[in-house]
């Protein structure tokens, strides 16, 4: 068998032929023979490569180099340089320009152009395992500067920025720090709440995985401000990767002296320990989280006293959300005025949202507070897939509210969403198309609450169970108007009498959907039919 060290494949497809591949091939065979390479190089005609707009095309193996727009005059150079000397002829290389020119640039993609990245400024850009890459992007500069300020000055800067907690409640962060700083006691603690359990929320995890040092730096600054020497990050047990990344990041920060004793020679000492939960949604509530950290069942405590005065092991404790803390370094570095220039007057800054459900660009976004729901869904989110229609958006996660199409222009900030009857919450944003049934999805939310209620207080333990049963009854077309009244009364009891936010907000999805989608309830209760055809199908199976 003959052995050829190189094979040249020349396209003989219709388009390349039309552009002159036949004469290129003839010239090539001639030139190879002239240079005495015909025993080593074989020329083969092939079918279309699919790069017709760049033809005539040839591919040289074993290197698999593609040359395009080859004319007979190029042949001599190809044989001389490539086949004889092994040097690739750069000018003829196929650069893929034609294809890439047609592709949108990042700036052209609405998904990115409408975003404002403060918290996520490094996510997806740096290697999270490298502290040097964080430092190269101004990392730990803010900590250095904060340690030259008085703790009260740091608190004042955060107060001036107007930053409000990003975990859901929206309490002013500076004020929370102030309470803890003023509380009596030598030992104080700082806790970073990474017990992210709200369905549809995964921002904290991706912040900690993508840019762990921004949270560590934020924690060190917070600890200095409130006078804590010890900090904890409480993770969900399910977040294995985040725990590994963070453990590594903490070691790097200690090695550089950015954690530990006498940081930046300022006399301030601080270190962080990781605590891992074991699967309980309610531990996202700060007093339940504290109980869990003490090794107990994660049941919420009565408030007051608030953790700022009586927290972990009875000491003054400040609990902040991951995203809140990740905002701190930028605020210290760029100032309160800069921060206030983003977002709205009452809710300055950005908010990280997690887009889920029936939406084209599901994922993680960061936008200025006050952007409308419509912009998020259609411009950034890319709209609803498969040509279906928007039906509802649930903001704030399972304990948030469900908004109909008529409210798409509501500004996404803490106060506007509350006024509209929903909540900003943790930033979960679930979009649902018209193939789904409101009753069915509300049942899914209630299933969640009934499972996650910790059982400590009666209104929540019994309420979540009964609420589920009542909505289940609606989905089975067995409910009457009386049941609707029962739901309303039960909801009021739970809102008024539950110990913590879990029970207080569990009726939210039922109440908001009853308000915004009454026709859907009516169809199930009065007409015994499910407009989306979901409940009927489910009951047939069952």
């Amino acid at each position: 068998m003959e052995f050829f060290r190189s094979h040249v494949l020349v396209c003989s497809g219709v388009n390349c032929s039309f552009r002159g591949s036949r004469s290129v091939r003839a010239a090539l065979v001639e030139e190879i023979r002239a240079q005495g390479l015909d025993k080593e190089v074989r020329v083969i005609e092939t079918g279309c490569f699919g790069l017709c707009e760049a033809g005539p095309v040839m591919v040289i193996y074993p290197e698999a180099v593609h040359y395009c727009r080859v004319v007979p005059d190029d042949v001599k150079e190809i044989v001389e340089e490539h086949l004889r000397k092994g040097r690739i002829v750069d000018r003829l290389l196929y650069k893929g320009e034609a294809q890439v020119k047609g592709v949108q640039t990042w700036r052209q993609i609405d998904f990115y152009s409408r975003q404002k990245r403060v918290v996520l400024r490094n996510c997806g850009l740096i290697d999270p395992d490298s502290i040097d890459e964080y430092i190269a992007r101004e990392g730990y500069e803010a900590l250095g500067r904060a340690l030259r300020m008085q703790p009260m000055e740091v608190i004042q800067a955060v107060k001036d920025s107007g930053l409000r907690g990003r975990g859901g409640a929206g309490f002013p962060t500076g004020l929370k720090w102030d309470f803890t700083a003023r509380a009596a006691g030598d030992q104080k603690y700082l806790i970073c709440n990474a017990d992210e359990g709200e369905p549809g929320t995964f921002k904290d995890r991706l912040i900690l995985e993508g840019d762990p040092h921004s949270v560590i730096e934020g924690m060190a600054i917070a600890a200095y401000a409130i006078g804590a020497s010890k900090g904890f990050i409480y993770f969900r047990g399910e977040y294995k990767l985040s725990i590994d990344r963070l453990t590594h990041a903490l070691e790097q920060a200690r090695a550089y002296g950015l954690l530990g004793k006498n940081i930046f020679d300022s006399g301030f000492s601080f270190d962080i320990e990781i605590k891992v939960g074991a699967g309980a949604y309610v531990c996202g509530e700060e007093t339940a989280l504290i109980n869990s950290m003490e090794g107990k069942r994660g049941e919420p405590r009565f408030k007051p006293p608030y953790p700022a005065s009586v927290g972990l092991w009875g000491k003054p404790t400040c609990v902040n959300n991951v995203e809140t803390l990740a905002n701190i370094p930028s605020i210290i570095r760029q100032g309160a005025d800069w921060f206030r220039s983003i977002g709205t007057a009452k809710c300055p800054g950005t908010k990280v949202f997690t887009l889920t459900g029936n939406i084209n660009n599901a994922g993680l976004i960061e936008v200025p507070m006050g952007i409308t729901l419509r912009e998020v869904v259609y411009d950034i989110g890319g709209g609803i897939p498969h040509g279906r229609a928007f039906k509802m958006a649930q903001t704030g996660g399972t304990s948030g509210g469900c908004l109909p199409e008529a409210l798409l222009d509501v500004p996404m900030d803490i106060d506007s969403l509350a006024t509209a009857g929903s909540a900003l919450g943790s930033g979960a944003l679930m979009i649902m198309d018209d193939s789904h049934c409101i009753i069915d999805v509300v049942k899914c939310f209630l299933q969640f609450f009934r499972h996650e209620s910790c059982g400590q207080c009666t209104p929540c333990r019994e309420g979540t169970q009964r609420l589920y049963e009542l909505v289940d009854k609606i989905s089975r077309m067995e409910a009457t108007e009386k049941d609707v009244e029962l739901i309303r009364r039960l909801a009021r009891t739970m809102e008024d009498a539950s110990l913590c936010a879990l029970g207080q907000t569990a009726p939210f999805p039922v109440l908001t959907t009853m308000r915004f989608f009454p026709e859907e309830y009516e169809a199930h209760i009065v007409h015994g039919m499910c407009p989306a055809g979901v409940c009927a199908a489910a009951s047939q199976i069952a």
């Binding site: 359990g197 369905p199 074991a278 699967g279 309980a280 993680l364 679930m430 899914c444």
Partner: protein
């Protein structure tokens, strides 16, 4: 119900080792239970008794914690725990059909364990990977963008682990 002395003895050494790694302070109870459970994905009565003794905490309290959190189990479970998310974002992207596919492939219902103690099917609350919903977590690994067709593939990946 009395518990056999052999069971208690065999649990003792391992539990003591784990407790000494963290210290007997109650704050470490959750981590200690994670480690004790790591061998067979469940906490036996003997193990709970030994944890209570080693840490000097009432057994009722240890049991209370072990049954409060969903990641612990006082019932035997399989080598692979398949935690299927049934939160709303997974629900509306097809989690139900994935659940049925797992149940069919393994011949068990949600909450049950296969006879060979290999697989357990459990619900979990949101896994935080809703961008690639529907998702499941098998032991430490998360699998996303699932469809009923992919279930067999995921199960064989476990077998080959």
């Amino acid at each position: 119900m009395a518990i056999a002395k052999e069971q208690l003895d065999s649990a003792e050494k391992r539990v003591l080792q784990i407790v000494s790694r963290y210290g007997a302070n109650e704050e470490h109870l959750l981590q200690i239970l994670h480690d004790v459970q790591a061998d067979d994905n469940s906490l036996s009565e003997a193990e709970l008794i030994q944890v209570a003794r080693a840490m000097d905490i009432p057994l009722s309290r240890v049991y209370g914690v072990a049954t409060f959190y969903s990641m612990y189990s006082v019932r035997p479970r399989g080598k692979f725990i398949i935690r299927i998310c049934e939160s709303a974002p997974c629900h509306i992207t097809g989690a139900q059909s994935v659940i049925r596919a797992f149940e069919q492939a393994l011949g068990i219902k949600m909450g049950e364990t296969t006879k060979d103690r290999k697989f357990t099917l459990e619900y979990t609350s949101c896994l935080g990977v809703c961008g690639v919903a529907p998702a499941v977590m098998i032991n430490d690994r998360v699998y996303g963008n699932l469809t009923p067709d992919k279930v067999q593939e995921v199960l064989s990946a476990c077998e080959n682990d």
